[in-house]
Symmetry: C2
Subunit: 199 residues, 2 copies
């Protein structure tokens, strides 16, 4: 099993989210989607902003790299006019929708809203649009996302991420092993496959 830890504000989580399901299928590997809040982990490291903003040289590289990566994957990409965007509400929706088979599609729609359509994913209306055609009752899902269960699940996920030693997104977890970054997805899946052949 591979766990995909992601944050809706995280740039490299975008290409990872778009390709993780197909890649896991190709490796015949079960996939678990794990939303968390990277900002909470950054705060523990003393950062009140994305390191891509704190270190502009690194930020410039990241945007160009992401543009190249998305071109290579034939993914639409538009540099977000606001970064990072607040992914809290979207993450809470993902937390209360864990059991729904449309969760992966919802996650991809939110990432596309942020990084392909340059929409503000903190806006409830943008998230309602993402839920449309997926959830039976989008306003009910949105309401549930403000409830205690949603908040507590997201809080628990973020706490778990810290326990696992996660410090960035996306991170793939296979057993006790972490693989940080979109470009380590295949390495994580290879690790999972090697574990299965050994057992």
């Amino acid at each position: 099993m591979i766990q995909f830890w992601f944050d809706f504000a995280s740039t490299y989580s975008y290409p990872a989210a778009m390709r993780v399901e197909e890649a896991a299928l190709r490796y015949e590997c079960a996939l678990r989607w794990r939303p968390f809040l990277l900002g909470a982990i950054f705060k523990e490291q003393g950062w009140n902003d994305s390191p891509f903003n704190i270190y502009p040289v690194k930020g410039r590289y990241m945007w160009r790299d992401l543009e190249r990566l998305c071109a290579g994957l034939r993914l639409t990409f538009r540099k977000a006019s606001q970064f990072p965007r607040n992914g809290l509400l979207a993450a809470r929706i993902a937390c209360v929708s864990e059991k729904n088979e449309w969760l992966p599609e919802f996650v991809r729609k939110v990432f596309a809203a942020n990084f392909a359509q340059d929409l503000d994913i903190a806006e409830p209306n943008v998230l309602l649009d993402c839920l449309n055609g997926l959830a039976d009752d989008p306003p009910a899902v949105l309401a549930a996302a403000s409830g205690y269960q949603a908040k507590s699940r997201l809080h628990r996920n973020t706490k778990r991420a810290i326990e696992l030693g996660i410090f960035g997104a996306p991170t793939f977890v296979v057993g006790d092993e972490l693989f940080w970054g979109n470009d380590r997805l295949e390495a994580a899946l290879e690790w999972s496959r090697a574990g299965r052949s050994a057992s």
Copy 2:
């Protein structure tokens, strides 16, 4: 042409240095070795130590990841008992040896000393051992490495790295494009190949 920007203290520069020549040959791509001092760039960002030490969670991940990477590449790896090591003298030797055909082999020997044999590459004797069997007169090379030309070349390289927008090592440069990290070597070489087919 691909430029390989590296720092002898940098952990991920180790696997990159061991495989860059063979990989460039495979892509029929000319290779230029560019030593620089990452520490000088870190200082500009307000860091007086490696970020892997400043952020221990990231550091723990890095050592485990490097161990896995080296196992996959069948490269001997021993966690350095001192990190980061001072690569200044080794970098100066590389700077005065740019034109020598043994430069790549010297670079690999220094990286192996640091990350496979756990030797202190700041020690002149360790570097003399690395030069043995390569340079005609190892003590003369060591002496030249303390001269004005060596210092000025390394200073110029580091300044150039900053101008290029380099913020970490290893970094591969193809034309105006940067590719940061050992695992982006193939992407850099693909970029170089695509540029040649287009022209």
